[in-house]
């Protein structure tokens, strides 16, 4: 104990206990519970691999994985492009930039429930402002949240609204770290603005870009609240992302064991996606 005080390990203990209890243990017991059948009321029953067999033939589960991927791969490019453009436009430390950064960053601080509610109200078919404007312009109403093809796109819009400002700040930090001399030299050599961006700025932003992509993927993959508020997964299962499907199985159908098995599969997918992202980052940053 005295040694632990001397090498300061003792100061890690409170955090370590909470880390073990609420991050490490959950992963372990997910594995354990995935071999059981449990509805919270009756005693647990060991059922071997049955949950995993059921899962293989559960089309809605695989559909939810597909929806999560679609959601992520629609959101990430939009967030990337928009935050890069805003980062470039607002990188100076002048008054204009400082003021307007706040407009894009603030949505990141808004509670997700409130953000989802605001967008639900904005996109509402009969009472929303978007349709009000469309009808003033002579177009017919659009069912943003009820049309199976548009609903996912609507949730993506909210995700873009929430995350863009945060990613913009990462780009601004990255842009401000690029030595000014490089730009000046290129201008002396007669480079135009587009050449300057594609040949010099963008390649030097590689590390920031990779970071933005990794963080965006992580955020979008675990999205639950936006979809829960905006569409509760509907219409049908069109916007049921995996965390929402797991939630429904666990807390509406009370299939705790089955939901654990699904959580385990989803954890493994998340692990591979983030592992892949980390490897890419290591490779990329190794080159600079």
């Amino acid at each position: 104990m005295r040694k632990w005080v001397r090498n300061r390990f003792v100061f890690s203990i409170p955090s370590l206990i909470l880390f073990l209890l609420f991050t490490f243990v959950p992963v372990v017991i997910t594995i354990y519970f995935s071999f059981y059948s449990w509805d919270l009321l009756h005693p647990m029953k060991f059922i071997g691999f049955k949950n995993f067999k059921d899962l293989l033939s559960d089309n809605w589960f695989w559909n939810s994985i597909f929806v999560s991927f679609k959601y992520t791969f629609l959101s990430v490019p939009l967030i990337f492009i928009l935050s890069l453009i805003l980062g470039i436009f607002l990188q100076e430390e002048d008054r204009f930039s400082k003021t307007f950064r706040a407009f894009f960053y603030w949505p990141y601080m808004v509670p997700l429930v409130a953000a989802g509610t605001m967008w639900k109200w904005l996109l509402s078919t009969d009472t929303g402002m978007i349709n009000a404007i469309l009808s003033k312009l002579g177009f017919s109403n659009i069912s943003w949240l009820e049309n199976p093809h548009l609903a996912l796109l609507s949730t993506v819009l909210v995700q873009v609204w929430v995350l863009t400002g945060f990613m913009m700040m990462l780009f601004i930090t990255g842009l401000q770290n690029i030595p000014q001399e490089l730009h000046e030299a290129a201008i002396v050599d007669g480079a135009n603005k587009f050449q300057l961006f594609w040949k010099i700025t963008f390649p030097l932003l590689k590390n920031t870009s990779v970071l933005v992509i990794i963080l965006s993927i992580a955020y979008c993959f675990r999205n639950f609240t936006i979809v829960y508020i905006l569409t509760t997964g509907g219409p049908g299962y069109a916007t049921t992302v995996t965390p929402l499907y797991i939630y429904q199985q666990a807390f509406s159908s009370y299939r705790i064991g089955y939901a654990s098995a699904m959580s385990l599969v989803f954890l493994i997918i998340i692990f591979f996606v983030s592992f892949f992202a980390f490897r890419v980052q290591e490779k990329e940053s190794g080159e600079i």
Partner: protein, 266 residues
């Protein structure tokens, strides 16, 4: 010039949901459901806000949320300072392993582990208790890394000379680390408060009794009912974002730079 026009247009687009919510929250119930909707309200009305205070236990929800946010913040600051000191200035074996282990928490969030989290919280007897929203959430990897980064910059010589003067580890922590970490404590407090104020997943799986609702949970359950009273939903939405707006405006520089490397200086 094109730069400014593009930025202003995008800023207007970004503010449309907020405009529509705020403007609608001041409409009468009749005008809210009017078709086609009015872009500007005809009559200014506080109907929605009044009915929140009349039909809902808003003050109680506010109290619950403030309790959770403030108590969590105190714990989070304590945890971040201690673990930050340990990982930045510790000399124990496995320090780096511990740092990378904690990194995992960035990816394994409550959205992904809500089922096992629910089981653990139930086992601990924290269901339908505000402590069930506090204890599982007070350890934060983001806060921990911010603290580690910050404390790495505190010169080792200060700690060494205190040691030579006979100070114990606890004294070093209390008299050197904590006073030098004031900007860190401020940043962690503001972030932690905002995170807990905005939290939704934990309240959703832990709280069933409406007297223990937080504001976010109340806002969500108000929309789960059959026949949603949109005037109340809109007013509650506005009330739930006001504190985050105030905090954001007061500490804008901290939010925009704070948790990015090198933003904090002691």
């Amino acid at each position: 010039m094109t730069r400014k026009i593009v930025v202003i247009i995008l800023a207007i687009i970004f503010m449309i949901p907020v405009y529509w919510t705020v403007i609608s929250s001041f409409k009468t119930l009749g005008e809210i459901y009017q078709y086609p909707p009015t872009i500007f309200p005809k009559h200014f009305s506080l109907e929605g806000y009044n009915s929140i205070f009349k039909n809902m236990d808003f003050i109680r929800y506010l109290g619950n949320t403030l309790f959770v946010a403030i108590v969590s913040t105190i714990f989070t600051v304590f945890l971040c300072l201690t673990v930050g000191y340990s990982l930045a200035k510790g000399t124990f074996r496995g320090k780096n392993f511990l740092s990378s282990l904690i990194m995992i928490t960035l990816f394994i969030t409550a959205e992904i582990t809500m089922v096992p989290l629910f089981i653990i919280i139930r086992k601990l007897g924290l269901m339908n208790s505000l402590w069930g929203l506090i204890i599982p959430a007070v350890f934060t990897p983001t806060g921990t890394f911010t603290a580690v980064q910050y404390m790495k910059d505190i010169p080792d010589e200060l700690l060494e000379s205190a040691k030579i003067d006979g100070a114990t580890e606890i004294q070093i922590f209390n008299r050197i680390i904590v006073p030098l970490s004031k900007p860190l404590i401020a940043a962690l407090s503001i972030f932690s408060f905002t995170w807990r104020w905005n939290d939704f997943i934990l309240p959703l799986i832990v709280i069933n009794e409406s007297k223990l609702y937080t504001i976010q949970l109340a806002l969500s359950s108000l929309q789960g009912q059959y026949g949603v009273a949109w005037n109340e939903v809109l007013a509650l939405t506005v009330l739930s974002i006001v504190p985050t707006l105030i905090i954001f405006l007061l500490f804008q520089n901290l939010f925009m730079k704070g948790l990015m490397a090198g933003g904090l200086k002691y």
